[in-house]
Structures are given as C-alpha cells and as structure tokens.
C-alpha cells in the first residue's frame, strides 16, 4: 500500500516559483493499476520521481507499507529504489554502450543475484516485452525507440518490484505492441499483486486501469473510470 500525504514539490526558476506538485494526497492499495493523465508540463513526471524516491519533496510524505520515505537515509532510499520500485523513464534512460540484456541485468546485479540467474531472467523479460531474441545482445544505441522502450520496461520488472512507476510506457509503441504492454502490466497487477502507476496520454490505456487521476497545475483529482474491475464484472 502506498499513501501519499500532502506532497508538495516546488522549483525556483529565476524570480518565480513553480509548483508542479501542489498538495497531492491519495492512497493506492497493493495490486492497483492506476493511471495519471494531464497536460504536458502539469507535473506528472515530477510526481512520479517523488514516489520513486528519485527526488525529495519540498514538503509532505510518501508512506510505503507503513514506512515513511521522508524518514529514510539515502542508503535506505537506494535500497527502496532497488528492491521495491521499477521505474520506466519517459526518456528510457538505458546505458547506451551496454546491450539490451546487460541493461536488464543491471538492477539484478545490484541486488546481488547470481550471474547465470540474472542472464536467464533478463532473457525471459525481454521475451515478455516481445523484443526479438536477435536483438537481446545488441547495444542500446543500435535499437529503435520502441525497442528501447520495451528494454526499459523489462529492466523495471527485473527485481520483481512491488510498485511500478511507468512514465508514458507506450508512447513510442505501435497500437498492437502497446496493447501487449498494457496486457503485461495488467496481468502483473492482477497475478503478482504489483501496484502499477502509469503516466499516459493514451486513452485506451487510461481506460483499462482501475483508477484514473488527473493532474492539473499541480493539483490531483480522481476521475471515474469504467475500468478493469467494471469490465471484469461485466464479463
């Protein structure tokens, strides 16, 4: 369970302050698939970085399974990112001179997993995101944007995190591949009880989530969705 309490993040740019996250509060139960929508520059990525402990809030707190991130030292925050979080960056942020497999293996290496085990899991994950096996050993800077995006998703899944934060995970994918990724995330939340928060402009994706939030100038509001549960109930 993740509780967000009165989260504020302000930036000083020149003489004015901007508040991309302005007093945001919500609670997500474990296993929820949720989406955040909003205009460009509305603060979606900023909010995600606070949830993923990449950045520290100006005020407010994020409580994960009863543990307050505000009270954790840097070392523990690193551990939190390594063990509990899978982050899919809007810009992918893969290591360009490493192969797809090596990139996916990195978080597992940091977690101390044995080499043979991480190689095997990395290949499985790349297959799950439908990256052609011939491209597993290819260097990142020789992959297309969509291919890189899928490697980024595979990397986020590497350590079986309990919270996946995905910033536009289908932005560079064709409809069919995008649907596959949505299906993958959906099944993770359902079968592995993984909490998933996706930032998206993709209506199709937003409509398939359990809950949908809208961020407007730093303010978060929840919108009703027919959602997965409704769809499942109807089925």
């Amino acid at each position: 369970m993740i509780e967000v309490k009165n989260l504020v993040r302000t930036f000083n740019s020149g003489d004015r302050t901007i508040k991309p996250v302005n007093n945001v509060s919500f609670v997500l139960e474990q296993g929820t698939l949720a989406s955040i929508v909003g205009k460009s520059g509305s603060g979606k990525s900023t909010l995600l970085s606070l949830l993923g402990a990449l950045d520290k809030p100006t005020s407010g707190d994020v409580v994960v399974d009863g543990v307050s991130l505000a009270g954790l030292p840097d070392g523990k925050l690193t551990e939190y990112r390594r063990r509990d979080i899978g982050f899919v960056f809007q810009q992918f942020n893969l290591i360009p001179n490493l192969s797809a497999v090596d990139n996916v293996m990195l978080p597992m290496e940091f977690a101390g997993m044995k080499k043979s085990a991480r190689l095997q899991r990395a290949k499985e994950l790349l297959e799950q995101v439908q990256l052609d096996p011939s491209k597993h050993e290819r260097r990142i800077n020789r992959l297309s944007g969509g291919e890189q995006q899928r490697v980024a998703i595979a990397r986020a899944l590497a350590n079986e995190p309990k919270l996946i934060l995905a910033d536009e995970p289908t932005g560079n994918l064709d409809e069919q591949t995008g649907d596959h990724i949505i299906g993958l995330l959906s099944s993770l939340s359902r079968d592995h009880n993984t909490t998933i928060l996706v930032v998206t402009h993709d209506r199709a994706l937003a409509n398939k989530t359990d809950r949908r939030f809208r961020l407007q100038q730093g303010n978060l509001t929840e919108e009703p969705v027919r959602g997965r549960t409704a769809a499942a109930a109807n089925a």
Partner: protein, 479 residues
C-alpha cells in the same frame, strides 16, 4: 556483466580519447619509471662506492696534499693517539720511499740534467707522499716507463730542453717502496700475495720485501731472489698483485726497515686507520681529526670517491624528485580525466542510482576504469622507460658529474707517484660514474607500476567520491 567488465567497457567507450589519455599517461608513467630506474641504479652505485671506500680513513701530514709538500711529518706518537680514538679498530703506519734506478740516476747526473724543472715534475708525480718520501737508489728497473704517461712526459721534456728524444729512453718512473705496519696496501686493503709469503712481523726490521708482479717480471726476479736498495741486499719473500699497473710497480717493506732507510725512525708518511664499522666512519673521522689537530694532520676518507658519491647522491635525489613529480603528474592526469568523465556521465550515474546502484558500486566502477587507463598507460610507459631509462640515467649522471671529472683526473695524476694501489680504485672514479647504467630491472618496474596504481587510485578516488554526490534525479534532467 560485472563492475569490472563495465569499467573496461567504459574505458574504451571513446577510443580516440582513450588513446590520447593513454599516450599522455604513458609519457608521465614512462618518465616516472625511467627516473625510478635511474634512482635505483645510482643508489646501487653509491652503495658500491661506499663499500669500496669501506671503513678506512687515511691520515696524511697537514698540507701534504699540495705538490710543494710541507707540514710536519706524522710521528709514531700520533699513531698511538690515533689508535686511542673511539671506534678506531686498527692503525697502520706507512713510510714511503722513492727508489730510482742507480744506473739511470748516474747517467742523468752525468748528463747534468738535474734541473729544477725535472725535479718539479717528479715532485708532482709524487703527490701526497712526495714531501716526505726520501729518494734512494736501487738496482731495480721500473716496470712503468715514462713513455706510458703521455702528457706528463711531454711536460718533463719541455723543461729539459731540446734533446728530448734521447732523454725519453732513459727516463723512467721512480719505483715506490712503502714500509707498512701490516700486510695491507696503502688504501688499507689486504695485500693479494700471489706467490711466496708475506713479511711476517711488519713492525720489526727485516730484509724481506714484497714485489709487485710486473716489477718482479721486469727485473726477472722471483721468490727468493735478491735486489738492492742503497747497496743493501733485500730478499723477495713474496709477490703481490695490486691489480693495476702503478700498483704493481711497487715494493713493500716492513715499516721499521723503510723508516731506517729513510733515516727517519719515528716518522710516518701516512696512517691507515680502520674504523670498526661503516656507521662510525663519519664520527671517527671527526674525532680523529680533532685528536690529531687539523694543523698537524689531514684525515680523508677516499676523498675522491666522496666527491663522486656526493654528486651521485645529488643525481639520486634529482631522479627521485623527478620520479615523484612524474608520478604526481600521472595522478593528476587521472584525476582530471576522471573528473571530466564523471561530469560527462552525470546523467548516466543518475540512472544507475535511480535503478538502485549503491554509491560504492558506482565509485568502484570509476576507480576500476581509472585503473584500466593506468594499466594501459603503464604498459606503454614501461616500453618507453625501457628505451629511455638508459639514456636518461647517463644524461643525468654525466650532466651532474662533469664538474667532478677534472678533480678525478687531477687526483689520478697525483696518485701516479704515490704508493701504488691508489692509482687503481681512486683513479677509476670517473669511469665508475660513467658505468652507471640504468637497466630497468623487473623488480624496479613492478615497484614503480605499483606506485602508479597507488597514485591512480588516489587520483580516481576524488572523482569517485564526487559520484556519491550526484542525485538520482539527474536522470530526469535533459542532456
């Protein structure tokens, strides 16, 4: 993919830049290794020279180093004083005589060629011992003739007028006869008796004598043969090899015998003082000088070698400073390169942190990358060093010892007439300097490379620690 593999990969990420960095590093490391090799070689040579100077001090009468001589001769009383000085384990007195072939001397005086000039020239050859060495006649013929002494012969001819060519044939060097109080040569080294026996008790008068091998050969003498000094017969009891031409053109007698021949029973030409250990040489020298009085005696410790040693010591210091400086430069290059790399890869470091890499893993990755560069630099640098160290060492040595070379030659000249043995080890000082060859031994190279790695780690540690300050949010910043 491990941290190490990633570091190696990163080191080669930009091949052109890596090549440039390795080239610059290699120059610095090569210089450091060459300087280290030079330092070691010179250090070894200094030790060798010190060992050859050994624990022996030589005491000469005050002012006795000059060509014109002067000063009071040393006495047996001073010998006792010297023996009482702390750390002194043995004192051996010597009494130097100069022997001239009787027939040659007669021929010269008959020709009226005993001009002041020629005496002066011989006095010069006499060197330190000159002022107290009585000249006696002998039936021995010197084994070294003046012809071998090129310029000195020339000088002598200049003073003796125009009929030079005929005189050259009759002129030969005096033979040095030394009375010694123990079976040592004039540098305090034990005599190397090659045939026959020593003189037994060196402190008692005796008609026995030791002849240098070449002198004996020249005069067709062997063990048991006799020869004369001042018409008195002496028996060859043994032959010795001093290892040098001058050294072997010499006769050793017991001390009292030489003193009687010289007509100065209580006087000594010099004293050879042995100090009980190497560490005490300096303090014994000071104490000895104080005990004997600087107006009466000069205490020297293989003077010429000391000059050589001190100039070599400065080469050693210079090369060590240069080694440290080059090493520091290598460290600085690594530091700057790594700082640059860390800045350049800020975002990537942010990524690693964002996906949970601990600070130490990232720091280690950068240190290892620096070590990869250092290893490449060392490999190329070692090759550079192996080619350059010889010439660097000899350039260093020659540029720092040219000032001492004339001193060395001057002494050698003075030593010619001085009791044999000194011509060898002391005269060779300048050659010793030139023989310093810095062949970079594997051990030295390994030590140097270890130092390079140490410096590389220190140089890389700063930027590696800088990575700890980079926050994971860097990942969201644009490039």
């Amino acid at each position: 993919m491990s941290v190490l593999a990633r570091s190696v990969g990163n080191a080669f990420r930009n091949k052109v830049r890596t090549a440039a960095v390795v080239a610059v590093l290699a120059v610095a490391i090569g210089l450091a290794l060459a300087m280290l090799a030079a330092n070691q070689a010179v250090g070894a040579k200094v030790q060798e020279l010190n060992a050859s100077v050994g624990t022996v001090l030589t005491v000469n009468p005050a002012g006795g180093q000059g060509f014109e001589g002067g000063g009071e001769p040393l006495t047996t009383g001073q010998e006792a004083t010297a023996a009482g000085v702390a750390y002194v384990s043995a004192v051996v007195g010597t009494s130097s005589l100069r022997l001239r072939n009787a027939a040659e001397a007669a021929a010269q005086s008959a020709a009226g060629q005993t001009g002041a000039g020629s005496q002066g020239g011989q006095g010069g050859q006499g060197g330190p011992g000159g002022q107290s060495a009585a000249t006696l006649t002998t039936n021995l013929t010197a084994a070294v003739d003046a012809g071998t002494l090129g310029n000195r012969n020339q000088q002598a001819n200049g003073t003796t007028g125009t009929s030079g060519s005929t005189q050259r044939t009759v002129r030969s060097l005096p033979i040095t006869a030394t009375g010694i109080g123990a079976q040592v040569d004039t540098t305090g080294k034990a005599l190397n008796i090659t045939e026959g026996t020593g003189l037994g008790d060196y402190t008692a008068a005796s008609t026995g004598a030791l002849l240098g091998t070449t002198l004996a050969q020249k005069n067709n003498l062997g063990v048991g043969s006799t020869f004369t000094i001042n018409d008195q017969a002496y028996t060859v009891s043994g032959l010795f090899d001093a290892g040098t031409e001058f050294g072997n053109n010499a006769v050793y007698l017991t001390l009292p015998t030489a003193q009687t021949l010289a007509g100065t029973p209580d006087e000594l030409s010099s004293m050879i003082v042995t100090v009980n250990s190497m560490e005490n040489v300096a303090s014994a020298k000071t104490a000895l000088q104080a005990a004997l009085g600087s107006d009466k005696a000069d205490v020297t410790q293989g003077q010429n070698l000391q000059t050589a040693v001190s100039s070599l010591d400065s080469v050693k210091n210079i090369s060590f400073i240069a080694f440290i400086a080059a090493l520091g430069t290598a460290g600085l290059i690594i530091l700057l390169i790594m700082v640059m790399l860390v800045r350049e890869r800020r975002r990537e470091i942010g990524v690693l942190k964002a996906i949970g890499a601990p600070n130490r893993t990232i720091g280690l990755q950068f240190v290892l990358e620096a070590l990869v560069l250092a290893a490449l630099g060392s490999a190329v640098g070692a090759v550079i060093a192996s080619f350059a160290s010889g010439s660097i060492a000899s350039a260093l040595v020659s540029s720092n010892t040219t000032t001492t070379a004339p001193t060395g030659r001057g002494f050698q000249g003075g030593a010619g007439g001085f009791p044999g043995g000194q011509g060898g080890p002391f005269g060779g000082a300048s050659q010793l300097l030139n023989s310093v060859t810095a062949s970079a031994s594997p051990g030295v190279i390994a030590g140097g490379i270890a130092a390079v790695f140490g410096v590389a780690i220190i140089g890389a540690l700063v930027p590696a620690l800088l990575t700890a300050r980079i926050r994971p949010i860097e990942v969201l910043r644009g490039e």
